[in-house]
Every structure is written in structure tokens, then in C-alpha cells.
Symmetry: C2
Subunit: 192 residues, 2 copies
């Protein structure tokens, strides 16, 4: 998606350790007008009328998922990273390792909001090693629901998440795929 690639070139910041900082428009400060354009593109890429729910994970997936949901006319469910007294009743639980936070945590979705009749589109901001998305797929499978696809804002094409998922036959659509980037020169190359 050209609009997103241009924005990454303009406002993204490459840091040592393969870190791409896009917190000025994607995951700390959020450009909601960009998110709406991304949402329209996700709808174009996933036109299936079967999709009746969008699943994301807190926190930085929520804004993108909510913007996209407007074009799908479906609710968003976000998986929660920690137990809350407000989440009683039964839950699906999975364990996810975070690349960003370098730690492992439990992720939960209430059984009320994911069930065997659901056809779920997963949306998240980043795809790197794929741990977060694999965790969400695990939750969906535990619920007996169907994975309709995975929509990602930025995929790090040089990490294994994308091929891990596609090799399982899961449809993954990333709006920008970074083929390589160089924190010394600032060069960034997208896959097309």
C-alpha cells in the first residue's frame, strides 16, 4: 500500500536490532485518517462476506482494528494481556512471547465473544516472528471458530512470521512488507 510505505519512509525510524519505530503515526501517536485508508484496503483484500468478527490484541492493534471494522460492519474483539476482575466467566487462554517487550504473557478472550460460528479476520500492527498472530490463531481454534485471514499493517519480511503462517495455508495480507532495512544508512526496501 503506497500511502503506508511513503509514510514509513517519511516518518519511520530504523534502530539497531531490526527495530522499526513508527510510533509517530501507528502505535503510540495514531493517525486515524491513515488508519481509515488502511481499513478500506483490508476490506478490498478480504472481501469475504463470511467475516463476522475482527480479532486483535491489545494495545496497538486496537485502533487499526476499529478503523477497519467500520468497512466490515462487524464487531472487534481484543485479546487481553492480563487477567482482570472484570473478565469473569470462562476464557480461552494462550501464551505469547513478545518481541517488543522481551517477555512471555498469557493472553485471554472471553468464551462469550468467540465461538464455533465465528469467521474471524485477525488484524495487528506488526508481523515479525509471528508469535502474537499464532497465539490469536490458537485462541480461534480453541473456540472452534474459523480463521478467514490475517491483515497486518507492517510485516518484517526478513523475519519468519509471514512464511510460518503462509506455509500453513493461512492468507496473510500485509499493507507494507519490509524486505530489508539498514539502521546506519536509513535505507528501507519494500517487497512488492
Amino acid at each position: 500500500m503506497q500511502l503506508l510505505e511513503e509514510r514509513i519512509r517519511r516518518d519511520g525510524n530504523i534502530k539497531p536490532g531490526n527495530v522499526l519505530k513508527v510510533d509517530s503515526f501507528l502505535n503510540h501517536q495514531m493517525d486515524v485518517e491513515l488508519f481509515n485508508e488502511m481499513g478500506k484496503e483490508f476490506r478490498r483484500l478480504f472481501p469475504s462476506e463470511k467475516i463476522n468478527k475482527i480479532l486483535t490484541i491489545e494495545a496497538s492493534g486496537i485502533g487499526i482494528a476499529c478503523s477497519a471494522a467500520q468497512y466490515f460492519h462487524v464487531p472487534v474483539v481484543f485479546a487481553k494481556k492480563s487477567q482482570s476482575i472484570n473478565l469473569d466467566g470462562e476464557q480461552y487462554v494462550t501464551r505469547i512471547e513478545s518481541f517488543t517487550h522481551k517477555r512471555i504473557y498469557d493472553v485471554i478472550v472471553s468464551k462469550k465473544y468467540l465461538g464455533k460460528d465465528d469467521h474471524v479476520l485477525i488484524i495487528d500492527d506488526f508481523l515479525a516472528n509471528g508469535c502474537a498472530v499464532l497465539g490469536l490463531i490458537d485462541l480461534i481454534k480453541n473456540a472452534g471458530a474459523h480463521v478467514e485471514g490475517v491483515g497486518i499493517a507492517i510485516e518484517k519480511g526478513f523475519q519468519k512470521g509471514g512464511s510460518l503462517l503462509r506455509d500453513q495455508g493461512i492468507r496473510v495480507e500485509s499493507l507494507a512488507i519490509v524486505e530489508r532495512m539498514n539502521d546506519e544508512t536509513g535505507e528501507i526496501v519494500f517487497r512488492h
Copy 2:
């Protein structure tokens, strides 16, 4: 806001300990079409052209803030509850006690996204004892920015947060104010 009050009556769940569960449409599963109507109402209540940023706190404020931001044509910044390696540089930090999670945590906003020229509308899903909003106001004041107001989806009118803020001269607009509720009868009374 009648639409929200009706939805709370229909789908809200009152639990012992003054807990109002609205996780079927507000803060776990999210009805984005409702959020858009709420966003339009926030714009009507806060028509000031000065507002150039919306500030919220992860995780459940993000969806509502992003929906609202479409009608303000401003970016959203969300305060983060824990330190991340992706948030380098300097940050504003404050400490917030969570009613829901019964714990105290640090909340941060990068100094890049909050400054003295900002006129900020705070948006959050719940106002109870006011700790989260007071923390966000503290961050805004540390940045030398201006608080233009506070927009809340559901205020618990029987807790002190609302009067604490209004007594400081802060404009607080809550789309639904629960005057009292009864977990045994299921009765819920709104303030008008």
C-alpha cells in the same frame, strides 16, 4: 446519550462491588458503529477548534478515542502502561491506581507527542474514582499542554471522580452517568 443508555440497559451486567460489565460492546468486544455515534456526540459536546490532539490510555480507551478522532480530524495518543524497548527517548511518567485491576502502575507518554502547543481532549471508557483521568491530566500538565476537556463513555456518578474533576473547573462530559445501580434487582438509574 440515549443510544448508549439503552445499550447499557440491554447488554450491561451489574455485578456485586459496583462493577458494571459492558464488555459485550464497550471494552472487550467493541461495537464500532456505536463508537462512531459516540464520537459524533463528543464532537458536538466539544466543538472547540483549538483541540488538536486526543489523549487516552491503553487499552479500552483506544477504540473509542480512534472513533472520536475521525470527527475531530486530530491524532490520538495513547498513554502506555509499561515501559517498552520501542519507546526510547524521554517520556512523561505518572502513576495511576487501577480500580479494575486493583494495582498501581506507571503510565508514560513520549515527550515527542505532547508539548506546550497542544490542546488536548482526554477520552476514556469509564470514569469512577478518577485516577486514570487525573494521571492523564498530570501528563498533560507536565508537558505544559492545555486540557480542553474530558469525554467519558460511562461515568459512575456515585463515585468521586466526576466531582473531583468538575470541582477543579475541568469540563467533563459523560455520555451516560449511572446515578445508582443494584446488582440484586438489575435496576440502573441514569442522571439527566
